[in-house]
């Protein structure tokens, strides 16, 4: 395995929402996440809406100053907000947002959109700008004719290609992809994913791929982590993860996926009837935050929050059911 490019230690991001009896109440969007991402990896971060996966991404990008914990990127501590980070570091760390409709400025044309990162980071001289932009567009398989189009005149897939081009403009080493394809149709998603994989190979990029689509992760990620209410509850290499899902939440997620063939049906774990909904992160239940929905809860789960446990090399799970038997899966 390659050297780690990013290490996140006990990262916390709380947002104050209201005051009750003079004391502020917090939404614990990210609550103690430990994550190591290795160079050249595609790390899949999966969770339902409200699980804190986007907040984690935005905190890493420096849009928020973390409440606690540490982010180390390429050997440097970047746990400060974006305006305090060195410019050279920002160049290496880029993000692609979910909805290209709202992340591209509608009053700018594609040239202006792609010019901005090049100007900020002083990558090319003014005379060479046009050539460089054409080259960037080429990387995402768009013709230079797109330079003077506006985002509104393009399809959703093409717009997302432009967002990806914008992230690539500074020649980064690490890209966070925040649900880049969930607003798109599957036939277009397939194209974008293939392009992302090709770019990753060519440029030796590292991706943190945030999504709610486990089937997609099965096909492209090297490792998968599941997030629930601000915490990671299971993490493993992709093959191991899908062969031997341990956490009850993971199994609930996997068994809820609608699939298109019998072979896939056979791979799903035994049906875990999904019940309940993700609770509000303001009132996180005591003990294990999943116990309200868990079919295998015991009395211990109400009282005590489980700790992360490595059941086999690289396979981590945060569930009481595995604490006692360490390593042996009892279903």
């Amino acid at each position: 395995m390659n050297a780690p490019i990013m290490t996140i230690n006990n990262l916390k991001m709380y947002f104050p929402v209201q005051k009750s009896k003079g004391k502020p109440v917090y939404v614990k969007a990210v609550d103690g996440v430990d994550l190591t991402i290795h160079k050249g990896e595609i790390m899949g971060l999966v969770g339902e809406s409200g699980s804190g996966k986007s907040t984690l991404a935005y905190t890493v990008m420096g849009m928020y100053k973390p409440t606690g914990g540490q982010i180390i990127f390429q050997g440097r501590d970047i746990s400060m907000s974006s305006d305090k980070r060195p410019l050279s570091l920002k160049k290496d760390l880029q993000i692609v947002f979910q909805d290209p409709g709202s992340s591209l400025n509608p009053s700018h044309n594609i040239r202006q959109i792609l010019e901005l990162p090049l100007r900020v980071h002083k990558i090319v001289k003014r005379e060479e700008m046009e050539r460089k932009i054409a080259q960037i567009l080429q990387m995402v398989e768009l013709s230079p004719n797109y330079m003077y189009k506006s985002p509104a005149s393009m399809g959703g897939g093409e717009r997302q290609m432009v967002s990806i081009a914008r992230a690539l403009a500074t020649d980064p080493t690490f890209i966070i992809l925040d649900e880049p394809t969930s607003a798109l149709d599957v036939s277009i998603q397939a194209k974008i994913i293939n392009m992302l994989l090709k770019l990753q190979q060519e440029k030796q990029l590292t991706y943190l791929f945030i999504t709610h689509d486990l089937s997609l992760m099965r096909n492209i990620a090297t490792r998968v982590a599941i997030m629930y209410l601000g915490k990671i509850c299971e993490m493993a290499d992709t093959v191991e993860f899908f062969r031997n899902p341990l956490h009850p939440y993971t199994r609930m997620l996997l068994s809820s996926i609608p699939v298109v063939s019998e072979e896939e049906e056979a791979l799903k774990p035994e049906k875990v009837i999904s019940t309940g909904e993700i609770p509000s992160p303001v009132n996180v239940p005591p003990g294990c935050s999943f116990h309200l929905r868990c079919p295998e809860k015991t009395e211990l789960c109400f009282r005590e929050d489980p700790v992360m446990l490595e059941v086999s090399p690289g396979h981590l799970v945060r569930c009481h059911a595995y604490q006692k038997t360490a390593g042996v899966h009892v279903a």
Partner: protein, 323 residues
Amino acid sequence: MSNPVLEIKNLHVWYRTYGGYSRVLDGVNLHVHKGEKVGLVGEAGCGKTTTMRSVLRILPEGQAHIPEGQILYHGNDILKMKPRELQQVRTRGISMIFQEPAAALNPVFTVGTQMFDVIKYSGLSKEESRKDNIKRLAIQAIKEVYIPDPERILNCYPNQLSGGMKQRICIAMAIVTPRELLIADEPGTSLDVTIQDQVHRLLRGLVEKKGMSLIMITHSLGVARELTDRIYVMYAGNIVEVARTSDLFANPLHPYTLGLLSSVPKLTGGGVAEGIYGRIPDYLRPPGGCRFHPRCPRAVRRCREEKPLLKDLGGHQVACFQV
């Protein structure tokens, strides 16, 4: 087989735009029998929702124009109905669940007020439309969608409920009085996968229990596979393939269906397929012949010149010259 509950024949719908008529639906044929669960599958912008909205005649007035076609509900053409008859279909015959539950519920009225209205206008007898009876029906419907504490829910405003709960309320409103046909327009799309699974199971259970027919609009082949008996695959305003669900997945024929199926990421792994070249056509100037030909890997000259009609291959219909 009995007469279909709903039959759409050669439906064309155009939208008036600044640049001329946008010819969205181009001869859609579809039917649903009693107790049948039918899926209408296609990508964004292919006309699924337009088709179903024309059934209830809730297309944007003034913009939509129906030059041709019939929508027969028990043999009566909905497109020619007088307002009073149409109202009967809407209140007693067909109900619809929309994609975005947050937008389908009025934010300034409580759930109770909105549900009571649905019941009040569903043509109950005077005896039945007494206040306590209406409330009893509403509570019963909320119980049927497995929401605890229905009395409290009736006094809630939609914004006090989660997305999954709102969608359950929409389902409860659709089934609160007996209907024959339920049209569900992507009911799980805006929800998380575990909640989507709950909503789908609930929907299937209710439809089966009440002997209703269901038209399920979805862009996800996986959802259609789990919920329906028969599937219509739609592309750019045309039905391109019709088959029983098991047949469609065992033996997909149309190049579009094949492309769509291969684009879905599989749990079995093995990478992601190429996707389908190009994008959905501009309806102002739709391509001639088969509307899929600019994107089709198997297109020949005939596909550009002539529009393929649905061919019947033993219950499995497909609109393609190459099959």
